[in-house]
């Protein structure tokens, strides 16, 4: 798809609106994490990945795993925008028998490549997909968004180790480095934070190619994915510096919005800030 940064910005705004409206409608769900990952998801599904919403199970499609499965509503919103499901269906999020489970369910919705939600597991399954492509000489690439809080799970590093040992240059992980988690540790001025500083060093130590970017800047996102395609013999991680709650001023950098439901007034203010027609 040939889309300008402006097109992508507009799509991401609309996806953010869907996220907030859906959580308001369902009366439950996560907000901060999905909003920090929306620009990355938008770029992946509209520009980077070789996918076809009409043929979601094509065996040669690129694969995507949302390892931070708690941001499912962010993924569903982008999938709806991309044509995998009707936008109207977002209203079924969390309802009984819905295809849109609180955490992604591989069997429920075509277009999902893995079930996630128990943190730390998604990246390992994505490593399995990339390894499966190598073993079968298939050209598809595998992408995986990992949370920074999630990276406290030891399994993430087991996966990092194996991806490096098998030289998976068809694999790109993206760290949604928003520097907040559900509760976390004490920071300055009463703020909460994650304890991880300089994740670049950790991933480099595991033998990965590391690229650091502003995860809300589409030019930088594009350049990073292009660079990843040129890397040989090792996997790439894009450290995407993001803002939890990005796009709505009163949700940004506030851990309380990790999974809070907006009031009617907050919803109206959020939509006003996003300046987007529904």
């Amino acid at each position: 798809m040939t889309l300008s940064s402006e097109d992508l910005i507009n799509k991401a705004r609309l996806a953010r609106r869907y996220v907030i409206e859906t959580v308001h409608h369902a009366g439950a769900g996560h907000l901060g994490g999905p909003l920090s990952a929306i620009d990355l998801l938008t770029y992946l599904y509209f520009k980077e990945m070789n996918i076809d919403p009409k043929n979601p199970r094509n065996e040669n499609r690129d694969r995507f795993v949302l390892s931070k499965g708690h941001s499912a509503i962010g993924l569903y919103s982008v999938l709806a925008l991309r044509g995998y499901l009707p936008v109207e269906e977002l209203k079924t999020f969390d309802a009984i028998n819905s295809r849109l489970q609180a955490h992604p369910d591989l069997n429920a919705l075509p277009g999902l490549d893995m079930s996630t939600g128990s943190l730390g597991q998604g990246i390992s399954a994505a490593v399995g997909m990339a390894l499966g492509a190598k073993l079968q000489n298939k050209a598809f690439r595998t992408y995986c968004i990992v949370g920074d809080g999630e990276s406290q799970e030891g399994q993430v590093w087991e996966a990092a180790d194996v991806a490096s040992k098998y030289r998976l240059d068809n694999f790109v992980a993206i760290l949604d480095y928003n520097k907040l988690q559900q509760f976390g540790w004490n920071g300055e001025n009463g703020r909460r934070k994650i304890p991880v500083e300089a994740p670049e060093n950790r991933w480099r130590a595991f033998g990965w190619h590391v690229i650091s970017i502003d995860g809300h800047n589409f030019e930088e996102i594009e350049a990073a994915f292009k660079e990843a395609r040129e890397v040989k013999d090792r996997p790439t991680i894009i450290i995407a510096n993001t803002v939890k709650g990005k796009g709505v001023s009163f949700m940004e950098n506030a851990y309380l919005w990790h999974s809070r439901v907006p009031t009617n007034e907050e919803l109206a203010n959020a939509i006003k800030e996003l300046c987007v027609e529904g």
Binding site: A125, V127, A159, V162
Partner: protein, 317 residues
């Protein structure tokens, strides 16, 4: 009368290793996934003779099972082979979320199951694996009694599209089944007819149950032995039929009495045909490292303990 147990003894993991090497050569989709125990679990033959089909995941079972999930989504059939204790306890969340729930084609082999794991003790013994795996929706749970059955179950698992857990033993056991034995998923196998009592056994306890039944026969008790190679899905009809025929039941398994075959049989009997029953298995105790015979004796799971339970349950008729 000749014993049902032949004099020939074979080791399940040896047969498993030979068979998986063969399968990995015959089917391009089959991959063997190791957690750095290949020379114990006997999949080292694949690493040495068919190395392209051998994947080393190192000592990291959580990642190992999740990687198998990803491999399966690309159309491959991974066989994850490690000790039953690690498979069932270190990686069970990964197995539930990413293999069982999505119903993926991953075969999981718990080598070194039960109590007799070669002087390794409580960290390596596996007395909960049946209980844990049978709570997972979509999961098939198998416990072979001898090497012939291992091979037949592997043929089944290779053809079957869905997650399978199979527990193996470390040490040699008498061969029970001839080469023409046909394993059928979800079907009990009547090894010996009898009218006074039925022993329902699984895995390695089937040969000890035969031993117990044959010795009791000499004392004048008519003891049936019903081998249960598939613990899930369970052959409920065969259990009810046995209860109707003999009126009392003993279960025997190299597993905790909580949650395993004994519990599964009790669940069926309580709902369908309540009769007196006793469970032979490891009771509510921590286990330890010791020679096999000492463990069987101390943890009350020897053939003599099965015979003792049979005599006790018959009194309750």
């Amino acid at each position: 009368m000749a014993s049902l147990l032949s004099d020939k003894k074979e080791t399940m993991r040896d047969i498993f290793g030979e068979t998986i090497l063969q399968l990995s050569k015959e089917d391009e989709k089959v991959y063997v996934v190791d957690g750095d125990l290949a020379n114990s679990t006997k999949i080292d033959g694949v690493a040495l003779k068919n190395p392209d089909k051998f994947l080393q995941m190192g000592i990291a079972e959580q990642n190992m099972l999740s990687v198998c999930s990803g491999l399966a989504t690309t159309g491959l059939q991974p066989w994850a082979v490690t000790f039953a204790a690690f498979l069932s306890k270190r990686a069970i969340d990964q197995i539930q979320v990413q293999i069982a729930q999505p119903n993926l084609n991953v075969n999981m082999i718990g080598a070194y199951s039960g109590l007799l794991t070669g002087l390794t003790g409580k960290t390596h013994q596996s007395l909960e694996d049946i209980a844990i795996f049978r709570t997972l929706a979509n999961m098939t749970v198998l416990a072979p009694a001898d090497s012939t059955e291992v091979k037949k179950m592997m043929e089944f698992a290779h053809q079957f599209d869905g997650p399978v857990y199979m527990r193996l033993a470390r040490d040699p056991y008498p061969v029970i089944f001839e080469d023409d034995y046909e394993f059928e998923i979800g079907k009990a196998v009547s090894l010996k007819e009898g009218t006074d009592v039925t022993i329902i056994s699984t895995g390695t306890q089937t040969s000890r149950s035969i031993e117990a039944a044959e010795s009791l026969e000499k004392e004048g008790l008519s003891v049936a032995v019903l081998h249960m190679p598939t613990i899930k899905p369970l052959d409920k009809k065969a259990i009810v039929k046995a209860a109707e025929k003999t009126g009392v039941i003993v279960t025997a398994e190299e597993h905790s009495i909580y949650g395993g075959l004994g519990s599964a049989v009790a669940e069926v009997l309580v709902e369908e045909k309540p009769v007196p029953m006793l469970r032979v298995g490891v009771k509510d105790r921590n286990t330890e490292s010791a020679p096999n015979e000492a463990l069987l004796e101390d943890f009350e799971v020897s053939a003599a303990h099965i015979a003792k339970a049979v005599k006790e349950v018959v009194k309750r008729k």
